[in-house]
Assembly symmetry: C2
Homo-oligomer: 255 residues x 2
Amino acid sequence: MSLVRESGRLWIVGLGPGGPEWLTTQAQNALEQAQDIIGYAPYVARVPEREGQTRLASDNRVEADRAVEALQRAASGRKVAVVSSGDPGVFAMAAAVFEAIEAGDPKWRDLDVEVAPGISAMQAAAARIGAPLGHDFCAISLSDNLKPWELIAKRLEYAARGDFVIALYNPASRARPSRIHEAFSILRAHQAPRTPVIFARAVGRGDESIVISQLSDADPSIVDMSTLVIVGSSGTRLVTRGAAPPWVYTSRGAS
Amino acid sequence: MSLVRESGRLWIVGLGPGGPEWLTTQAQNALEQAQDIIGYAPYVARVPEREGQTRLASDNRVEADRAVEALQRAASGRKVAVVSSGDPGVFAMAAAVFEAIEAGDPKWRDLDVEVAPGISAMQAAAARIGAPLGHDFCAISLSDNLKPWELIAKRLEYAARGDFVIALYNPASRARPSRIHEAFSILRAHQAPRTPVIFARAVGRGDESIVISQLSDADPSIVDMSTLVIVGSSGTRLVTRGAAPPWVYTSRGAS
């Protein structure tokens, strides 16, 4: 044991979905202390540059490699921040890092790891238009890269039968653009035609756009990789406001 | 119309679940601009005092009255912040405010209202122990003040049958302490005995405590008003770490 042992650290940091207004103090502190910033390139680009800090930007599809890289660096004594958009604990890098710890070098289990949660995309989208997540809700990823479509379809069905508000992450699939239509077919079989539907794109960014529709005539083909979809429950209501878009909220009581 | 018309504003602000480390920049800005701070007394107490700012602390059970008070003040030209612990959009004040707007003075629909989302209790609890919300999950309030227990029981059943990770808000009921036991009975009928269960109490506060258990022998009678419960899915795993508590995460793939 050396008297001057450098001890590595790993932060898994949520940047929130868009601009800097959703960054927490914990996340800011982690980004200031980190020697290495690791993440998907557009997220790394959102971290203010600091002299002496190494920046490792990678492609979207290499979450597992990125987790291993971060763990190796922390194990070698570096102070490392893995950054995610939104909350790293919700469909993002935190699960990938703990998966890598479980499968990897047993010494990684002794690393000093801290998760800094962030505002997730569904929360930011909800805040823009009212309080659609104000009562019982589910969050489901439509990505079938790592799980079979049958499991996704089953979850959509039970979420709809349970009359939950439903937030859909990763609604767009380049390989299978029909998935979002299949998802809406399942929801339409169980939920009322007038159920409010929100397509929230690029919330917090310069090109933010939000479309409020209803289940019967919502066109899910408008989703892209930056879109988060919220489908209401029977308790979700619109509050009209003249020319302004309506507020959308989910009642706290029985629907 | 007067040239010096003061225009009121209403922010609905999330303080995050505990200490100041989870406050966002948007929330901080709102608290600094507000003339009136309105909320449940322990939450108002968490806002740093500022000269000239009025503080209206009320009881937990008067959400609707508090919403009306805030709207009246904003309509009279005041700059008002309603504060919630966690995220105001998740089982908190935002739905109460929009409900009051819908039912109240039509002029309230023209008010300048902004929701500042916050880190919700489930996100903070998850971050402390790993990434249990890393894949598809539901959030369910067990409070039957405003909805019948039958609806809660139905949602618990569908959430369990859909193999979602489940976050339980308001698990403790003074009036009906048996509710949490009934909830666990429903979950035990559908989920494996070894499913991880997390009781996270007062996360971010000085008296924070987290108990990691499994469904077969978890004792739900330890919950109180400050506890958030997370029950895993079949994809939720423990990563043991010698003497330290295990990490808990939910795999991104099929369980």
